[in-house]
Structures are given as structure tokens and as C-alpha cells.
């Protein structure tokens, strides 16, 4: 895979924090309690360079979806900055925000809920084009046909409602809808997690083709490591709201430095038909984000944990110009 590792930064995330307030009831109000806050994203910095795909991997609740949603501004960050092509997305007014939407688009996980069940494929796409005046009214029909062929859908599917489409077809419609705005940056949130393997492979191929043809920059969010590796130039691993390791795909998967990444990589079932006789590397479960452990947040499950890990947050260690890990004892 060609690796556009240098080149200018397209998206820069700087010390981003996203908190959710647990709802306050009347009793809490009466007692003057403040909101309990969950830090879903806890100080994430990440750079995505032009034409690069960065894979974001982690288990459920690690904050990867929230991070993706913060980029397209459907969740509001608490602090930090996200800038695209040098422009801070978090300080935009509503007009600029609308213009920004054209450049950053999102593809959602669940092809069954990401399309409006009441709208045909054609209406879904035409609405985007008309609303944003991407094409003069007369050209909308042609552009819809173009978009359908771009994502490999037969033109006769245009009149169908989502219900009459298969999962793979729906995901293609979701992709066409995102591409209708001709974005340069695409956030893909688990785009193939809901699909069967054979269909998943079709969509992954399509995504790689489109990326090359349209010169897209991507943040590819997934929990499945093989999919991430297949799609990404660089990979960021998230755990409990922080990026704990980032590097090229080869660095992260072949020479993981953070014990969590090492455990993740070893936990993937292998295709080699040999009965497993290995012990699970990572014991226990992810702690609640309401109660993040002090020191290194991974120490409760870490096989290497020492006393220092329980007390002091680990430094961000550079292992190579492109490879960093947040750990007191990085390395094999």
C-alpha cells in the first residue's frame, strides 16, 4: 500500500474532550447536585494527513464513535480544537458550519437505521443535491444516476425504499449520500460491522476504489482489527477515551508497544485451523467511564502493571517518528 505519511495535515484534533452529562433528576436539582459527567473522549490529539486513511480502533465504550461524531459536529466537544485545512471547526457560525458540512461527511454503521425508512433512494439523494444546490435543478436526476453508478448500484434501485434493499445495498446508498456533497474528508463509523463477510469484502473494495479515485481522506472507525489493517495507512488505538497508541499499520499490528494493543492483537481469533490453547492475555473488563482508574487507565487489566502505573499517568513515548504509545513500559 502506498503510504502518504508526510504531506500536509488535513484534520488536526488537539486535546479534544467530550463529556456527557448524566441527566439530573428533580432530587439532584433540589439538593443542588452538579451533573455527573462522563468523559467519553478525554484529551485526544490526532492528525490525519491529506489522502491518508487513519484507522481508529478500540472496544465498545472507548470513545471512538464519539470522536467521529465530534468531527462532524453532531456531538458538541467540551474543550479542545478540531481543525480541517487550518480552519477550526468548533468556532464556526451556522453558515460556515453548513459550508463545512460539504467538506466533511459521515457514513454510519447500521445500514438499517441510517436511511430514512420513508424515503426512496432517489429522494434521499436528490434532497441532498437540491438542498445544498450542488447541481442546478435540471441536473439533479443525472447526478443521482451518477452517484448510484459510482457506488455500484443498478439504476433501477433508485425508486426503492430502504426496506426493499439488502444490507450491502443500503450501505452503498449511505455512501452515495455522503459523497453527494463531494466531501474531501469522510468519517466512516463501523461501515461494515453489520454486514456479512462476503458483502463486507465488496464494500471494503468499493471504499478503497473510491478513496483512490476521489482522493478522499478518511477516518475509519472499526472494532475489527483485520478490517482496520486492510483499510488504514496509520492506526490509532483508543482505550477509555484516550488514544493509547498510534503508528503506521505495520508498526501497530506487527510491533505493538502498548500492552493493550498487544493484548488486542493476540486476542483476535486466527484463521489457522488449530485448536486454541492460549490463555486470554487481557483479563477482566473495561472499567466504567464514570470511574476512570487513576494513574494509567489500563493498569487494572494490564499484565505488566507496576506500582507507578497505579499512581502516575503514563507519558506519551515516541518509539519512532511515526509511532507513539502512552505507557510507562512500552515495547515488547
Amino acid at each position: 500500500m502506498t503510504q502518504p505519511l508526510d504531506g500536509d495535515a488535513a484534520l488536526v484534533i488537539d486535546d479534544l474532550v467530550v463529556e456527557y452529562g448524566a441527566p439530573r433528576g428533580l432530587v439532584d436539582l433540589a439538593l443542588g447536585r452538579t451533573r455527573r459527567r462522563v468523559r467519553a473522549v478525554d484529551g485526544v490529539s490526532l492528525v490525519v494527513r491529506r489522502n491518508e486513511t487513519v484507522g481508529l480502533v478500540g472496544e465498545s465504550g472507548c470513545g471512538k464513535t464519539t470522536l467521529g461524531r465530534a468531527i462532524v459536529r453532531i456531538v458538541e466537544p467540551t474543550s479542545g480544537a478540531i481543525s480541517l485545512d487550518g480552519e477550526n471547526l468548533l468556532t464556526l457560525g451556522s453558515d460556515e458550519l453548513r459550508a463545512m458540512r460539504r467538506r466533511v461527511q459521515m457514513v454510519f454503521q447500521d445500514p438499517y437505521s441510517s436511511l430514512n425508512p420513508r424515503m426512496s433512494v432517489e429522494r434521499t439523494l436528490a434532497e441532498v443535491l437540491r438542498f445544498h444546490r450542488i447541481r442546478p435543478a435540471a441536473g439533479v436526476g443525472d447526478r443521482v444516476a451518477e452517484l448510484l453508478s459510482l457506488v455500484g448500484l443498478a439504476p433501477e434501485l433508485a425508486g426503492r425504499r430502504p426496506r426493499a434493499l439488502s444490507g450491502g445495498q443500503r450501505q452503498r446508498v449511505g455512501l452515495a449520500r455522503a459523497l453527494a456533497l463531494e466531501p474531501t474528508f469522510l468519517v466512516l463509523d463501523e461501515p461494515v460491522a453489520a454486514l456479512d463477510v462476503s458483502i463486507q469484502a465488496q464494500i471494503l473494495n468499493l471504499l478503497r476504489d473510491l478513496r483512490d479515485r476521489l482522493g478522499l481522506t478518511m477516518l475509519f472507525i472499526a472494532h475489527e482489527l483485520s478490517v482496520i489493517r486492510h483499510m488504514s495507512h496509520r492506526v490509532a488505538v483508543m482505550y477509555l477515551g484516550r488514544v493509547v497508541e498510534v503508528g503506521t499499520a505495520a508498526e501497530v499490528f506487527d510491533h505493538p508497544a502498548h500492552p493493550y494493543t498487544q493484548g488486542l492483537v493476540r486476542a483476535i481469533p486466527r484463521l489457522t485451523p488449530e485448536r486454541r490453547h492460549r490463555k486470554p492475555v487481557i483479563q477482566g473488563e473495561v472499567p466504567s467511564p464514570l470511574n476512570i482508574p487513576p494513574g494509567c487507565r489500563f493498569h487494572t487489566r494490564c499484565p505488566k502493571a507496576q506500582d507507578i502505573c497505579r499512581r502516575i499517568a503514563p507519558p506519551d513515548v515516541a518509539l519512532s517518528p511515526s509511532h507513539r504509545a502512552e505507557c510507562h513500559f512500552p515495547g515488547p
Binding site: 453532531i74 459521515m106 456533497l181
Partner: protein
């Protein structure tokens, strides 16, 4: 819609919907043609022919001032359906809007709405209506005002609950990432997926509203005589119930048949729209 599309749609209707819709349509048509279906006038009294039992000349008999009960029941369709329709669908419209907005926006607007709903629900509906009527004086318009003040709360509740589910769905998030303004996201995208349960409920509500107006008229707080409103007619016949059962019973039957047909439509719609079966009645 082509003829084929209509035929396909009809084929998917459950039997209850077909039966209910047929009956309801019959009732509406009968109401429309009421003046031409019987030779009598609903108001003209015939003191010589009062309290006549059902016969060929008067299939539903005559009341205590000699008016033909059938004629009055048929004219009553116009009054009762009109009142039922207005008291159901006017509050439904703004109830849906407010509820959907409340569920989607959350925050202080939602808090305010929820408190309003709590207050409205905390009082017994009928008592509150009677209080309002007592203040404003009886009459159809007062009933409208009273119902408009209260009846939207149920729709707002339903729409809010459904919206809380819909607003987290990916298609709504997608509409937001596409840069659509809030009004478009709520009303064009989410709304059509929110209204099903309200439509189903409105059928039950329609029946309840007809019964409400009838009850109010029965109590003398609703439609003033001599208008041929079914509840008022039941009330008028109350004094003669042992001598002339038909004066009260047959208008009462009209209420039952209308109510039953609407309930069947509601059940059928629930089925057709894929809603969980709900029985409100």
C-alpha cells in the same frame, strides 16, 4: 397512485380495517345524505304523534314531542362526527408538533413541556373540562376550547416518546451531518416516523371524544337542545325510558356502532402500520 398500487395496498389491509372502514364510510355517506333519506325534519314537532313505537312509518319511533327519531339520529351523524373530528385532529396537530420538538430539542423546552404535561395529567380530564365549561358557559364552542386546552397532551406525550427513540437513529444523525436545519430534520425526516402511534391512538380518541361530548350533553353541559346530538337525545329520552325505550336506546346504538367501527379501524391500522397492538378502550 395507480389502480394497481391501490389494489396492492387494499390487499395488505387486515379484515378489521376493511370492515371498520366500510362501516365508517357508510356512516359518513348516510350523514351527508341525511336530509334526503327520510321525509321528516329533525326539528319539526308533531305533538299528535308523540312517543310512537318503531313502525314502518317511523322505523325508530318518535320522541316525546313527536319528532322522528331515525331522522334525528341520521342528522346527528353530522354533528357528532364533526365534533369528534375537530376535537381529535386539531389538538393532535399541535400536540404532535410540540411533542416532537420537545423530544428532539430536549433542554429547557422539554423540561417545561414535561411539567405542563404532568399538570394536565394530574387532573381528571372530565372534571377539568366541566370546570372550564362552568367558567365559560355550555355550548359547542366551549367544548372545543376546553378540549383544545387539554387533549393535545396525550399526542405530545406519544410524539415525544417516539421522538426520543428516533432522534438517536442514524438517519436523523445523517440528516444533521448533511447540514439540514433543525426544522427540516424534525418535520421532514423524523416526523413521518413518529406519527404512526398517534394515528392509531387518534381512532380511539375519536370514539372517546364522541362519548365525551355525548356525556356532556347528557349532563346538559354540551350541545344545547334542540340540536340532534346523540348524547343529548339519550338524555332527553331518559324520562321515558320505561315507556318508550327507543328514544334513548337507538341514538345510544348509533354511538356504539360508530365507536365500534372506529375501534376496528384503529386495530386494523395498528396492524397495518406494524405497531404493537394497543387497546386503549
Amino acid at each position: 397512485m395507480t389502480a394497481i398500487a391501490i389494489r396492492d395496498e387494499l390487499a395488505r389491509w387486515p379484515a378489521s380495517l376493511k370492515i371498520g372502514a366500510t362501516f365508517f364510510l357508510l356512516i359518513v355517506v348516510t350523514g351527508l345524505f341525511a336530509p334526503w333519506l327520510t321525509p321528516y325534519d329533525p326539528y319539526t314537532q308533531d305533538l299528535a304523534g308523540f312517543l310512537q313505537p318503531p313502525s314502518w312509518r317511523h322505523p325508530f319511533g318518535t320522541d316525546h314531542v313527536g319528532r322522528d327519531v331515525l331522522t334525528r339520529v341520521l342528522h346527528g351523524i353530522r354533528i357528532d362526527l364533526q365534533i369528534g373530528f375537530i376535537t381529535t385532529y386539531v389538538p393532535m396537530t399541535y400536540g404532535l408538533l410540540l411533542g416532537a420538538l420537545s423530544g428532539y430539542l430536549g433542554g429547557w423546552f422539554d423540561t417545561l413541556m414535561m411539567r405542563l404535561l404532568d399538570v394536565a395529567v394530574a387532573f381528571p380530564f372530565l372534571v377539568l373540562i366541566i370546570v372550564i365549561i362552568a367558567i365559560l358557559g355550555p355550548g359547542v364552542h366551549t367544548i372545543y376550547i376546553a378540549v383544545f386546552l387539554l387533549a393535545w397532551t396525550m399526542y405530545a406525550r406519544l410524539a415525544r416518546a417516539e421522538m426520543l427513540v428516533e432522534r438517536g437513529k442514524d438517519y436523523v444523525l445523517a440528516a444533521r451531518t448533511l447540514g439540514y436545519p433543525t426544522s427540516r430534520v424534525v418535520f421532514r425526516h423524523a416526523m413521518p416516523n413518529v406519527i404512526n402511534s398517534s394515528i392509531v391512538f387518534s381512532m380511539a380518541d375519536f370514539v372517546l371524544n364522541i362519548l365525551l361530548v355525548s356525556s356532556l350533553s347528557f349532563l346538559g353541559l354540551g350541545v344545547p337542545p334542540p340540536l340532534p346530538e346523540w348524547g343529548a337525545m339519550v338524555a332527553e329520552g331518559r324520562d321515558f325510558i320505561f315507556d318508550a325505550w327507543w328514544i334513548s336506546t337507538l341514538p345510544g346504538l348509533a354511538i356504539v356502532v360508530t365507536g365500534a367501527s372506529l375501534s376496528l379501524i384503529g386495530d386494523g391500522l395498528a396492524h397495518r402500520l406494524g405497531q404493537r397492538q394497543r387497546s386503549f378502550l
